[in-house]
Each structure stands twice: as structure tokens, then as C-alpha cells.
Point group: C2
Chain length 497, copies 2
Amino acid sequence: MALINKTRIDKFKNKANELFSRTIDQHITLAVTGLSRSGKTAFITSLVNQLINEGNGTRLTFFDPVHQGRFIAAKRVPQKHFHVPRFEYDAAMSALTADMAKWPEATHGISELRLAIRYQPNSLLKYTTDMATLTIDITDYPGEWLLDLPMLKQTYQEWSEQTHNLLTSVPRYEYSKVFLAKLKDMDPFAPISEDVLADLAKEYTKLLHIFRHQLGLSIIQPGRFILPGELAGAPILEFFPFPDISKLDANDYQNAADDSFIGMLRSRYLEYKEQVVRKFYQQHFVRFDRQIVLADCLTALNKGKESFADLEQAINMILESYSYGKSGLLSRLFTPKIDKLLFAATKADHVTPEQHTPLVSLLNQLIYKSKHQLNYDAVEVKTLAIASVKATHTGTIDHQGKVVPVIQGQRKIHQKNSDETVSPTSTDSEKRAERLTEKVTVFPGQVPETLPNNEYWQKSAFNFINFLPMSNLTKHQCLPHVRMDQVLQFLLADKMI
Amino acid sequence: MALINKTRIDKFKNKANELFSRTIDQHITLAVTGLSRSGKTAFITSLVNQLINEGNGTRLTFFDPVHQGRFIAAKRVPQKHFHVPRFEYDAAMSALTADMAKWPEATHGISELRLAIRYQPNSLLKYTTDMATLTIDITDYPGEWLLDLPMLKQTYQEWSEQTHNLLTSVPRYEYSKVFLAKLKDMDPFAPISEDVLADLAKEYTKLLHIFRHQLGLSIIQPGRFILPGELAGAPILEFFPFPDISKLDANDYQNAADDSFIGMLRSRYLEYKEQVVRKFYQQHFVRFDRQIVLADCLTALNKGKESFADLEQAINMILESYSYGKSGLLSRLFTPKIDKLLFAATKADHVTPEQHTPLVSLLNQLIYKSKHQLNYDAVEVKTLAIASVKATHTGTIDHQGKVVPVIQGQRKIHQKNSDETVSPTSTDSEKRAERLTEKVTVFPGQVPETLPNNEYWQKSAFNFINFLPMSNLTKHQCLPHVRMDQVLQFLLADKMI
């Protein structure tokens, strides 16, 4: 008994402390997620880097607290949830500032980092205090978890139909047809062994990995299948869509036995919704104040029509999670606090500067075309074209008498076996770097201002290059960036007045 | 709202179904855990194998339902908790029955498997039904999680002192002294950065891996450090004992700031207790009906005095979790249902049969010497010497005119580079097996009947050999074993009357 009371008192104390500090100072829970390798780790690293190194070469003109000289200092402090992995800021900075600079490794699952920013308030508060603190809890989580949220209001039938539609369309169908043919031969109402189900689920999971890593698609459902963590090998990750589920007799479907093929798929789907999706929703999503979604529109443009359509549908699915109203996902009971939602088109430094305006306008089209546009009045939505860590220099060249804008950066030289081409006696890492990278000056192409039509795709006019980070970055200086100050202004500035 | 009601109704339906089946039939939640590589996977595999293949060469004489001809059949059915990984029975059987038979791979974390046993009741019930079903939920979890339970009633000071005592004793001290020296130089009340703490925690975790894998010790605390799963990189796994904590001024310790070294260690310890240990306790431990703890006393005997003392202390810590009473861990609110607790000394086939009696008597001494002996009247405790999967044949040889009992089995031949010694053109796996294993006939030594004294350790009389499984095992036959029928009799038979 003593044990329990002690725990309760501790909990109460913690709550009280938290409340106290929130009334004096400000607090933001910032959620960061991204679609298909959009550079989430680089973004969080740069955001932290800009704030904690403010003063050392900062370029944060559009961030009011800095511009107005009220920004004092920021530092990392222990995060709020001890049971959530820490965002690996130091490892990411080491990668970016290494002799052979490279992009930081992608994170798996969820992680956290807390910053405390000291600033001078310019509001009424300044008469009561000289200094205030804004605490920012940054939560980094996989984009797939956000894309899973619409499942909360889908039955297994609805989800199955939607996902089956994806599987039978370009570009997924080429990879999924063998799997789907197998399913078509099976009786949905016959009993099935767990082993067969487990094997089929493994095949489906393999497909998801191909969609994600080989095709670079955004809609990967169920998201936890490709990052299983402690659920690896659990039945909850052993289901998949069933073909033509709408053609099954409704009564037969409703009354399908628990040990039948369709019955097992359905019950696992329901468990996934409850144990994975709803848990993420309740434990994390409802606590977020602000959300930034990173999207790599340029790679999608480069990959072509289907990849771009997939990005469009993914953004559509995300907006669903923020659309209030009767039919929306968010009933009053579970309304999250999010009041600002930022979509950022990343890697803007990978095109020439005059293309940034079309890039943002393209992103706007992706968002405002959505049928959800009317429903999210409560959330302020903004779009920006950014580069978290700028990897190119901009300039112009003279091409056949015309001045053409270009960008210049380093890229990796792809070699089948890089070990063989470098002399094994060469130990000078600088030399190696020279040999394995090359400087490229290029005009990557025009970003379409509106959703591209067939003509655009047929010309395939866009030539995207994956640049390496610049090689002269240092740890305690601000990283070069494009519009990170506008990101900070939108996400933080209103809490620092 | 519709969503929630539906969920509630589903939950209610599930509960109702469960209750219904429990009143007609019987149900057991069987927890299996082991100390330091005691053969947990082999045990569960054999237990399942004996039951589902009953009739195909079964040797279950001491299991009443089989002996009395009332056992009908057993089969695997979908497990209860979909979010818990499934115990990999098929993979384990494949390893045991492969051309080159090997022991199944150790499992990580928790897993589940459900069996349904059909039998004829011999009680009053038989007038109402011809057949009854006993459902068994087998939960496999790491022994370290059981050893963590005593932390629930320890303060950070208490835990720190106890664990520091271990670190400063043989055989751990040789490995931990560098780490401890580092800690001694640090001011417990000075602020410390998270990075320094994280690095020290990594060092402490490395030590735990050495203790577990190199020294073969049982007490590895905190247990989750060596199997972090989704907590990898989380601050909750970044603490350790502080040297001579009792020498710190009590007031200073109580008032230590949250960002001081000792304050951070303490708050992480408390979070670990709540988020890891208590969660395991509430989500799993309180639901178990019966518990089997596997211990490899023979390897401990072989490794020597300290390894054996560690096993003794581990058993002592386990018994604490089952000791009822005012000072016990288990307040009335959290009383688990466990009514039977079996300690099994595994690998009994690795000594000659007449040594089984001393082996059990030794295990009894380990248990009944414990100060907790009087407190667990509510739990029936039994000890057995078993072999889950028998790996040896027994016989006698004539040695200098005396008949000596021996065992015979296969063992791996350790080669520094086995690839080089086998001709690369040889593709016959049988031939390879012959080359890399050898048949050994041996009398491994006498197991002491009482806790061994210094004289025993000085003679180091015990020569334990790690045998491979027999090579002629087949998938749908019962595995050879020693006393698995007595295990089943103790754990299951009373629910099948």
C-alpha cells in the first residue's frame, strides 16, 4: 500500500510542477514527420543546430526573436519521456561535419529531444520578468504512422478495398500480382493455419519494403509492418488486404468464423487498429501542439507520374487526420491540440532559386485540391520550400548567349566496387574524397507550377541529382540552410512574444 | 462515437466469450523463464512437441491423463494476445531435426503460444460431457525480467547498494573496476550532461553483456539493458548503481537537484521501475497461473564457485517475488494467481542417471536454504531434474575392473576456422557433419548433494560437456526427454481430472 501511495504522490507532484512551469513560461510540443526519405533527420538536426548555435553565423533574419534581438540562448535539456529513445543529434552532426561529409542515418521509430530557449518577452510580461523560457519538445516519428491514422475510422472491408486498389495499380501491380494471384485461389471462409497466414504476411511485408525503398512510394500500410520493433513475429502484424472483398456475400462476411481466412484477417486488422494505431494516437498524436510534414516533391517529380500521384494521395490521407467535423476522424473526445500544420517541400537547394516559387505553388495545389480544404479552419496550414542543410551554391552560366541559373554541388561517383578503384595504399582521406565525389554544375529543370499533365511526364524534363552535404561544415557553427528561419517563425515565434 | 461503442461492444463480447469457455473448460496460463542459457526454447519446444504428437512414440508414463488413456489430442491454436510475438515452434523443430541437428536459437523478449488439449474428464463432469478442453497459454519471457521484480520495492539507494556489492565482488570486479574508478572521481551533486550519462550507461551495459555471455552469470540488472527492444537509446535505460551511496549525506541525497548526477540516476531508476518493471508485472506477471523456472546448475557447477553463488542469489531473488506477507513484494492489490512453481534443473542428460538424485537435492538446498521458505505457503513449489530434449545415451563401461556409469553423445569439434579444414569441394552435408562432430563417451563427474564447499571447488572435479542434439530426430515424433512427463503432471494434470 505504501508503495502505491508513494507513486501516486510522485505523479501528483510531477503534474503540479509541470503545470506551474507552463503558466509562467511557454511550451510547445512539436511533431516532425516525413514522407518517403524526405530528410527528417537532417531537418531536426538543422532546427536544433540553428537554435543552439545562434550567434555563430546565424542566418535567421525572418525569425522575429532573433531579428529583434530578444533571443538570448537555447540549450538541450533532458527530454520529457524517459522511455522514448533520444533523438541522436550528436551522431547526425558528426555525419554532416565528417571529413567525408554524409547525410545522417535515417532514424527508426520514434525519438524525442527537448530544447529550452531563453528570450526577452516584448509583451506585457516584460514588466514582470526580464527573461522567459520556451520549452520545445520535438518528437520525430515515421510518416507511416501518420498515414495509418485514417484506419481508425475504416472497417477491415473499407481498408482492404482501398489498399487492394493500390496493389492493382501502377506501379505496385507489377510487384504484387504474384501475391494477389495466390490470394485469389484461396477460400476466404475455409479455416486456415496460422503458419500459412504468417507466410503470406511475410510476402506482403516484402512488397511493402519494395514499395518504400525501391519505388520510393509514400503510402505504406500498415506502417508498422516495415518497422516492427518489439512486435516482430506477433500475429498483429500478420494480415493484409483481401482481393475483391466487396464481392463477398455480406452475410457470409459478417458471420465468417474466427478461424476462417477472412475472419483471421479481420480480427488481426481490428487488433492492429486498437493496439498500434489507437495507442500511437492516444499516447503521442493527441499531445502534439504543432506538426511539420516534410515531403520530397522533387524526387517524386523525378520518379514520374505514379510516384507523384502517390505523394498526392499521401498528403490527402494526412489532411484527413486534421479535418474536423462530423465525419472526420477526430471526434470531440479525441480532439488533438494541433493549431499549426506546416508542409515543407524539402531539398529546395536541389533546384535553382527561381524554381522555389513554382515548388511552393505545386505543394499548395497538392494540398488545396484536397476535398478536406474546408474542414480544417481550426488549424493554420502553411507551405514552404526549404533546405534543412543547404548542399549547393547558386550562380549563373552563359549558355549559347543566354544567362542560365545553375546550382553547383558535390555528388558521389557511383562505382560498382569502390574499394578496388582506390589504391589500397592511399591513406589520405582527402584524396579519397576527391576521387569518389565530383563537383557538378547543373540546371536541374523547371518545377511545374500546377499539377503536371501527361505532356509534362512524357517530356520527363526533370533531372534531379542527390547532392552530398557541403564538405566544410563545422560542429558549433550554424548549418547553411534555406528558409529554416521562416520555419522557426511559423512554428515558434508566436509563443515568444 | 459509433466507433467507441463498437469497440466497447467487441471488448465485452470477447470478455463474455472468454468467461463462457472458462466455466465449461479449463484454462492455464503457464509462464516459462530461465536463468542464463538454461535451454528455455528447447524446453517449450519439447513440451509442445510431447503434447501435439502424443501417440507417436510418446513416453509420458507419469502424466496421468496419458497413463489413464483419457488424453485425446492436443493442437496449437491462435494465441490470445495478437500483439505479443508468437513462440517460433516450427523454427525450433527445424533446428532440432535438421541434417546437422543443432539447438534452437535463443528467443529475445517475450513470446506466446496457445495449445488446446482435448481429454475425457474422469470427475463428475463426465456425466455432463464426454470431452473437455484444457487451453494452455504458454508465455516465454527472459529470466532477467523476473529478477527485476524485486526492484519494485527497492529505492534507488537500496538497489544501488545491492548492485554495487555485486560489482565489487568476484568475478565481476575484474571487469567493472575501471568503470567504478571513473564514477568515484565524479561529484554526485554536480550537474551532468545527458551525453556523459549516456556514455557511462553504455559502459555499464557492456559490462552486463560480459557478465551474461562471457561469465554466464544469472543476475543481470536492470534486465532490459541487454534486450532493449524499442527502448534502445531511451534515457530510461541510462542509469547504473552509484558507488558507496550510503556514505552520501542523507539530506544532500534527498535534496539533490534533478539535473545533478545522482538526481538524474535516481529519476531514471524510478522511471524504469514504473515504465518497465511495473508494466511487465501488471501486463503479464499477475496473469500467470503457473510458473516454471529453468536453471542450468551443471554449467554453474562447471564454471565454479562464483558462478554457482550467483545462481544461488538469483534463485533467492526469484523466491522473493513469490513470498507473500506484510513485507513481501506482493501486496493484496497485486497478488498474482500463481499457485504452482516448478524449479527444473535442466540438461540432466548431461550427467549419468544416478547423479539426478544429488542434482535435485542440490537444487532443493538452493531453494530451501532461502530465508523466504516460510512465506510461500500459498504456492506449491517442486523441483525436478529434467532434459527437455535428451541428447545422450546412458550405459556403463568397465574401468580398471570397476563398472562405471557413462553417457555418450555428439559434440562439436571446435576449430579455429572450420571452413578451411573442410575441403571446399565436399558438398555432402552428412560427411561434413561427421567431420565436425565427434562421439564422446564420458563420466562427467559427481554432482554434490549439498551446497559445495571449498574443498569441492579446489578439486574442480566436474567436467561438463555441451552435447549436440541427437541426429535422428524427426518432426512429427515425440522428442526423447527426461521427466517431461513429470513436468506435465505437476503443471497440468490437476486441471484435467
